[in-house]
Structure formats: structure tokens, C-alpha cells
Symmetry: C2
């Protein structure tokens, strides 16, 4: 008798939205409640698990395997590589057994998410694994909803850049776009404020962190941000014509 | 006896996502099923109603008032102004009676949405009306999910611009950003293709329309787009390092 062929599981990237558990999509929720294996990658930058907090009430650990992996703090490429290899092997094992695996992503899986790494690793490990993405509400939409500020309107241009980009680069982008979003601004506020002052844009900017969660913070007077310990999930939105 | 004060209704902007009805958020769905008045603005560019298609199965016209307004085709500012005035008066009437009104927005209410107009009009008409936004999955996230392509990863920069922008402007932005999204590319493909050819980026670009719907179209060979009638809900994503 020949060996019975097992159909491979599907690897899902599920965007669960920015933080409010009800901002998951109906599609994402249905999938999370159905798949046998849930994979929750967590950034080493955080002590708790934001991702798990968001989806916890939807999961059932009595019938679902919940794999909870904290990224190592190591900055070296080799250490990170090993971590990605290990994590993807865990996932590939389950997929090889025919089990569907859902990887939880805060926000949207394809917008500044570590899911892109995992997707590539899984695909390299077995090119025959089906990969499906369920998009999610991004942290940017969460921030604009928190402050009721249109991000861009017809005819306007938007730039989204890491706040850790070089100051000259940030300066140039601020000159050329109606709306600019600076991602992960928490560690570089003291570098960003002088640029905004130079361009007369300090009053056109707003700082938002953990939008849509109970810990949401919105700061319009940017001077309040100086020398403060700021949340990792933060951004600044600069709108010239607001 | 004094006149009894009626609490004003809340004006909600509800992002219903990019097209697949299951890509509405749990929060958005709950609200849509609860509010007494639903306002569905429709672009004159379309014959049917995309917005209504997305939410129709969630609504109950026996107990909910569904106000369905098609934008006028007029290009003159005055005609449009009249239209906005009329529409906002309809909404303000209901809000004044204490009824909550939800305005349906394809994608996210604050990302290239006509909701921003309506929000301003309602606010001008009565500054005491509470306005709340429920963010939604944007058309950009829908497009990247359709093609399983990471939009931006750590360290990368994103620009989103209307494809109708001047060619020199598009050229400059393509030079300066790792990922560029050209919105509403349907009418200007013949203008955009030569720019991509000049920069050697034609094979790094993909055209997507109506992502997540049954009418979804993904075109990697951009030459197929020439002289074709393209859908209004379309965009092009150009990723240099893909």
C-alpha cells in the first residue's frame, strides 16, 4: 500500500487591527475561531503581549494550540536568523501535518509587520504551502479615527516614513507632501521636534500612541513629549493643511 | 412645563472595508445593525452602488432608514456645494431628533473618503453633534493581501499619491521612495507607463482593482492595460526591492 498523501495546511496572516479587539474583521474573527494552530509572534520591545491581549477572548486553548514566541533581544543578524529558522520550522511541522496555522498580526499583516519575514521563511521551507492574507485595520487608520482628522483627501499626497530616518530625509519629505506620518517616533522625538520647528509645522503635528486601546494617548502640544518615556506603538501625523 | 430637551444623535463614520462584506470590523458591523439611520453616499462615477452591495446583507430596511444619495455628475463647485448642503441637512434633521446616523464609507472613513466633507458639513451645521469614527481596512491593505506582497517592511518608506498628479512629480516620488502607491490609476495608465519605463520600474509594478471582491483584477504585465477600459477602484503598487 502506498503512503497516504496528506494535504498541506494553509498559512494565514491575520490582521487583527490596531488594538481594540472589536476592530478585528468578521473574516479574521471567523478564521481565528476555526484554525487549530495560532501563532503569536511578540516583539521583544514589549514586556507583555499586546497581540495576545487583542485576540485572547476569541481563542480556546482547550482545542487550539497557541504558539507564543517572543523575539530575542539580540541585535545580531545571525541570532535573529536562527530565531526565524526555529519559528518557521515549528510552523512548517504543523502545516506538513495538514493543520492550518494562523499568524496573528497587530494592524495589517503586510504593513510594517514581521509577518513578511515569516511568510518568506515558510515559503522557502516549502514552496507548496498555500499562503493567504486577511487584511486588517492599520495603526494609521486607528490614529486618525482617534483624533477625527482626515489623513488625506482628494488630490493630496501622503508619505509614511520611519521616524528613525535621517533628519535631512525627514526634512525633505515634510517639504514635499501634504501629509506625513512618522512611524515609531517614541525614541527620536528630540530629533524630530527641531525639524518641525524649523519648518513651522509644530502646531500642525499630533502624537498618538496605542490608538483605540484603553492606553490611548493623544498629544497636540508636542513640547509635552520632551524627556518623557514614550510608548513603542507611537506615531506622529503632520498635516500641513489642517 | 418646559420643553423637554432632546439629546442629539451621534454622527458615525463607519469604514466598511474594501469590498468583501466580511472585511467589515466587528465593531462596524454591530453599529450598522443598531443605528436607526444609515447614510450611503455614492460616487457618480459608478452605475451601481458598491457601498450598498458591501453592507446590504447587514441592514434591515423594515426598521432602519436607509438614505441613499448619488453624487451629482456636475463638476462645478457651486453645484457640488449645493449637494453637500442638502445632504448634510438631511443628516442634521435626524441627528437633531436624537437619532444616531451612520455614514457608510468604503475602505477607511479618513483615507481619501468623501466622508471628510460630510463630517465638516455636519460639524459646521451643529458644532454640538458628537462625531465618532470606526476605522476600516483600506483599499491598499486589500490590494497587498490580494497579491501577498509586503507593502513596506522595517526601515522602508512609502508614498501614496493620486496617479493624476503631474508626471514630473510622480517621477520624483518614484526616485525617492522604496514603495509607491498610485491611487485611481484607471484614467492615466498611458501617462504612467512611460514614467515607469524611463525608470526601469515597469516589472516592479502591479495593477490591482476591486481587491477582495468577486470582480478583483490583478495585472502584472502592465502592457495589457493599454487602451483598456479600467475600473474606477484601481491602483498601482510599485515596489523597488520586490
Amino acid at each position: 500500500m502506498g503512503k497516504k498523501r496528506v494535504d498541506k495546511g494553509t498559512f494565514y496572516g491575520v490582521g487583527v487591527g490596531p488594538g481594540d479587539p472589536e476592530l478585528i474583521t468578521v473574516k479574521g474573527l471567523k478564521l481565528l475561531q476555526k484554525v487549530p494552530v495560532i501563532y503569536i509572534p511578540k516583539s521583544g520591545e514589549e514586556s507583555g503581549s499586546f497581540a495576545l491581549e487583542v485576540v485572547e477572548k476569541y481563542l480556546d486553548s482547550s482545542r487550539q494550540e497557541i504558539i507564543d514566541l517572543v523575539f530575542p533581544m539580540c541585535k545580531d543578524r545571525e541570532g535573529l536568523q536562527q530565531f526565524w529558522d526555529q519559528s518557521s520550522r515549528l510552523i512548517l511541522d504543523r502545516l506538513g501535518l495538514g493543520l492550518d496555522v494562523a499568524c496573528i498580526c497587530i494592524g495589517d499583516p503586510l504593513f510594517y509587520s514581521t509577518f513578511a519575514h515569516m511568510m518568506r521563511k515558510v515559503s522557502e521551507g516549502d514552496p507548496n504551502i498555500p499562503i493567504k492574507i486577511i487584511p486588517g485595520v492599520s495603526s494609521i487608520s486607528a490614529c486618525t479615527s482617534a483624533i477625527s482628522l482626515p489623513l488625506v483627501q482628494a488630490g493630496e499626497r501622503l508619505a509614511v516614513i520611519p521616524a528613525t530616518y535621517d533628519p535631512e530625509g525627514i526634512h525633505q519629505v515634510l517639504l514635499g507632501f501634504e501629509t506625513v506620518v512618522l512611524m515609531k517616533v517614541n525614541r527620536v522625538v528630540d530629533k524630530v521636534l527641531p525639524i518641525l520647528e524649523d519648518l513651522g509645522l509644530k502646531k500642525k503635528a499630533v502624537f498618538v500612541s496605542r490608538a483605540t486601546t484603553d492606553a490611548q494617548e493623544v498629544v497636540w502640544d508636542l513640547d509635552q513629549l520632551r524627556d518623557k518615556r514614550l510608548d513603542y506603538h507611537s506615531m506622529m501625523i503632520i498635516k500641513k493643511h489642517s
